[in-house]
């Protein structure tokens, strides 16, 4: 994976597969601390202690169609290469939180990439799941919440082309407003 937005999409897809009803994505860019923090929380099925022990093993997966599970190892590698680390917390039945930290100015830190297309892919492909996106850049913050949109559109599906077009506009404007540099 070449950009953090792709990792975020991948981890969020894990949350969806774990039966999450709401997926929270938090990004925090802090210039003073030279720190970039990416966090994905879900209320999915969570993992047992035994599953957690194997999570960094690229040859462990819960799927049966193939024998590798590279999502977590790839993100772990991306974080470690950029002077950061990956912290995973999970409780069976409650949900999982995946947090990756990066040194913001590190030469080997992957670029954020296109976060708008990540969020659109999630919303368009999973219309029954809610997403909360919080992006902080120093003292500025952008929040996008599909529950807020759902409240306004009543019976219209959230993945209707016109609504997705609106969402695309809102997210790109929001990211411009907080002058995200990552």
């Amino acid at each position: 994976m070449l950009e953090l937005a792709a990792h975020i999409l991948d981890i969020a897809e894990n949350s969806i597969r774990a039966g999450a009803k709401i997926v929270e994505i938090e990004i925090d860019e802090n210039d003073a601390k030279d720190l970039l923090c990416v966090k994905i929380n879900d209320n999915g099925s969570g993992m047992t202690k035994e599953e957690m022990e194997k999570i960094h093993d690229p040859f462990y997966t819960t799927k049966k169609v193939r024998r590798v599970g590279l999502g977590i190892p790839l993100l772990n590698d991306a974080a470690q290469r950029a002077g950061g680390k990956l912290i995973i917390k999970s409780e069976k039945g409650l949900g999982t939180s995946v947090e990756a930290t990066f040194q913001l100015s590190h030469l080997d830190r992957q670029p954020m990439g296109n976060i708008t297309t990540t969020l659109l892919a999630l919303v368009a492909g999973n219309s029954s799941i809610d997403f909360l996106y919080k992006h902080r850049h120093n003292d500025r913050q952008f929040i996008f919440d599909t529950r807020q949109i759902r409240k306004e559109i009543d019976d219209l599906p959230i993945n209707h082309p016109e609504i997705l077009k609106y969402i695309r506009g809102v997210i790109s404007e929001g990211l411009q407003d907080i002058a995200s540099l990552a």
């Binding site: 991948d10 897809e13 799927k63 169609v65 659109l120 892919a121 306004e152 009543d154």
Partner: protein, 127 residues
């Protein structure tokens, strides 16, 4: 450009409601973009975005888009399955935004299967 607000969303809702009463909102086509780690790493996100933009531009409200996980054919990702109502599903391999736009215009809208990109016919099984 004026900023998008919640009021804009209300206007969009009213507009869509007006149009919906004019034509029946039947779902004619279902497109599945495979979003496993393998798919995402080989560009499924960009393929998905190209598809969504084509749908927006064409106003194709009868096309629904969904995502699925890995089906074990990681080396042929990005994979896209096109299911037109009452027709056999067609699975396309090694997709990219340009191929996606071609499949949208020629297959989804005009009904011509784009044979050079086809991997297989029939539905997949994801476990």
């Amino acid at each position: 450009m004026a900023k998008l607000t919640i009021d804009d969303l209300k206007k969009i809702k009213e507009k869509v409601h007006r149009e919906m009463s004019l034509r029946d909102g039947d779902r004619r086509v279902k497109v599945t973009v495979h979003m496993g780690t393998c798919g995402i790493a080989s560009g499924a996100k960009e393929v998905m975005d190209a598809l969504l933009q084509e749908i927006e531009t064409a106003g194709a409200n009868d096309v629904i888009v969904t995502t699925s996980g890995c089906m074990g054919l990681c080396s042929r990702e990005p994979l896209v399955t096109v299911e037109i109502l009452n027709q056999e599903p067609i699975k396309y391999e090694y997709m990219n935004p340009n191929k996606m736009r071609q499949v949208f215009k020629r297959h989804i809208l005009a009904g011509e299967i784009q044979t050079p990109f086809v991997l297989a016919r029939g539905a997949e099984v994801t476990r």
